[in-house]
Amino acid sequence: MSRKFTRRKFMAATAAGAAAATFKFPAPAIAQATPFKLGLLTIKTGPLAQGGIQMEQGIVTYLKEKNYTFAGRKVEFISADCGGTPAGTKTKAQELIERDKVDTIVGPLAAFELLAITDYIAQQKTPCLSLAAAEDMTQRRPNPYFLRASATSAQAMHPMADYAAKEMKLKRIVTISEDFAFGYEQMGGFQQTFEENGGKIVKKLWPPIVTPDYTPYLAQIADCDGVCHGFAGSNPLRFLKQYAAVGLKYPVVTGETGGDDALLRSFGDEAVGMISSCPYTLDLQNESNKRFIAAMNKDYGVDPGFYCAGLYVNGQVVAAGLEKTGGKSDDKAALMAAMKSVSLTDTPRGPIKFDHLGNVIGDFFIRRVEKSGSKYINKTIKTYHNVSQFWTYDEKKFLSQPVYSRDYPPLKS
């Protein structure tokens, strides 16, 4: 039986509605008429603000594109600056959840911030989609309310090592990365895959996060045919400059933070030739990436990088999850399950889905920095499809080995 909505019925309904409004009849409860509240935890001040500001640009770009409406519900966006400290992150997360009553949190940026709130978000049953790459958040100590659409620390490094060993034919590599967990996990993943493919890590160097001059470390790079670095923030820029300044010429490979597209506008000639593996690349030719880049160029006058794209994709996941629950967000467990079962084909980083631990399975791009006119670009030279956090390893076996660390895997003598 089909029901036609005629003009007459429409008029009648409108009149009835108008009457109801005029006479203040008790309005029928309309499900989910309240806006969906989306909270952002990011860093807008201090030394880490570069990535944090890009995160906000990414999510705002997506919200604008969707006209601030997910699954027919208005989205209310609340941005919080947690200042890049664990204590600040905890305070802001509490404000977002308890005062603003947000339905979902996107962010924070760094692992040490996420670790400060992981128990709290699980206890509050608030879904959290973060870029923080700490492996165990989706491995040995998974949080059921955590979802990661970007990558674990080592997820980009496994394919990078595969490429370095098989296609670049490198044999002996020195790794250098910041002396903290993100650095250890990146280099550990690289070492495991690289050595399985016949290569050897000859030395691991760990400069402190704040190292104005890398020369004392660069002086120790020798007896190798390649260098793998895992620097983040503005450190890759300084590292490469000083690397070139001391006359080192070994090929350089790196991960998503070291070759971030957003750094291209700061790089100089010394970066040309560097190979990076990243879950996002500017030159991916698909509809959503074109839309995303055009909007970023228009609103902010810059090309987006990995932090922007990460948050844009997070927005897509939240919207798709909400679509699945029919716009309902009261039952957080159902909302979380819906988001985790999302499978998207058109995101700026290509098709994605999630494994049962809440980590993304998606494409990783191997790119080379090249000069094009006066600009530097990352040119994709190989794409690894459907890469999981476990690479090609058996999940059980992978999880039974210790998490990648400063000394795991150990250096072979």
Binding site: W206, P207, P216, G233, R238, K241, A245, V246
Partner: protein
């Protein structure tokens, strides 16, 4: 062999950069007893202003050395204003001075983030200094060697200024006994403004000179300030020779410490500072100030 030589030469160049940074800090503390925690910010501000001039405002691109001069003058002027209108109101109150200068440094950091955004700026090595100097098999970047020369020129210039000019004599008198200096007719308050501007300008100059090595990025201020503090505590405040020797020592400790004991890099850097504070609080070349 080459490993040690590279480290040794680099220690001296890094020491040169540290001297440019810390000489101003030492002068300001020596004369005015102000622990100026904005010094790192002045360094960063100089680097940002200089880098902006080099990279070009619109189509106008400025030569590196002219940009360094502009940044130095601009930040010196800012320093003079801060001294005249803020710090002068808090004479002798070190707690208030620490808090005001710390607050100013936070404001400066956010100001830089607002104006320049979070992207690091890449300052190209000035023309003609991009190459290498060869010592036998060893190649060393020419710009780093140039920094040694620049630091020497500035050191000699400052020494002549303090030791051979009337202004220098007045500053030294102010350092030794401000009250007596006032009695003999020296306008110590005016000296304060001059010295603060000079110190600020030196920090800014160090910032832009360091630009091609360090690049310019948010957080540069907090990375450099502790190094300046170590140098000045080690060398002794108010002593030019102290800053110079302290810088070279810290340059060596920094380079060899990080290369030989990477796990203890910071420990090795700050240990001499602790020892000096305990055993010789006035620093290696400082005079005891009651």
């Amino acid at each position: 062999m080459s490993f040690w030589l590279v480290l040794a030469v680099n220690s001296v160049t890094f020491g040169g950069l540290l001297f440019l940074l810390s000489a101003g800090f030492s002068l300001i503390f020596g004369l005015m007893r102000i622990p100026n925690l904005t010094h790192g910010s002045l360094f960063m501000l100089g680097a940002y202003i200089g880098a902006t001039c080099v990279l070009g405002i619109g189509d106008v691109k400025v030569n590196f050395w002219l940009a360094a001069l502009l940044a130095t003058l601009a930040v010196a002027a800012l320093g003079a204003l801060a001294e005249r209108f803020l710090l002068r109101r808090l004479p002798g109150d070190q707690l208030a001075q620490v808090l005001v200068t710390l607050g100013l440094s936070f404001m400066a950091a956010d100001f830089c983030l607002m104006v320049w955004g979070g992207d690091p700026l890449n300052v190209a090595t000035p023309n003609g200094l991009g190459g290498f100097v060869r010592f036998g098999v060893l190649a060393f970047p020419m710009y780093r060697l140039a920094i040694i020369v620049i630091a020497m020129i500035i050191a000699v210039g400052l020494w002549l200024l303090l030791d051979r000019t009337r202004l220098g004599a007045m500053i030294r008198a102010g350092v030794d006994d401000p009250d007596m200096a006032r009695v003999v007719g020296i306008r110590v308050s005016q000296l304060f403004t001059i010295v603060f501007a000079l110190g600020a300008g030196l920090a800014a100059f160090a910032g832009i000179i360091g630009g091609p090595i360090l690049s310019v990025y948010p957080g540069l201020d907090q990375d450099m300030l502790p190094l300046a503090l170590v140098v000045v505590i080690l060398g002794g405040t108010g002593s030019l020779l102290g800053s110079f020797v302290g810088s070279i020592i810290v340059g060596f400790i920094y380079n060899f410490g990080q290369a030989l004991l990477p796990e203890l890099a910071y420990f090795v850097l700050f240990l001499p500072m602790l020892l000096v504070l305990i055993l010789r609080p006035q620093g290696l070349f400082g005079r005891y100030v009651p």
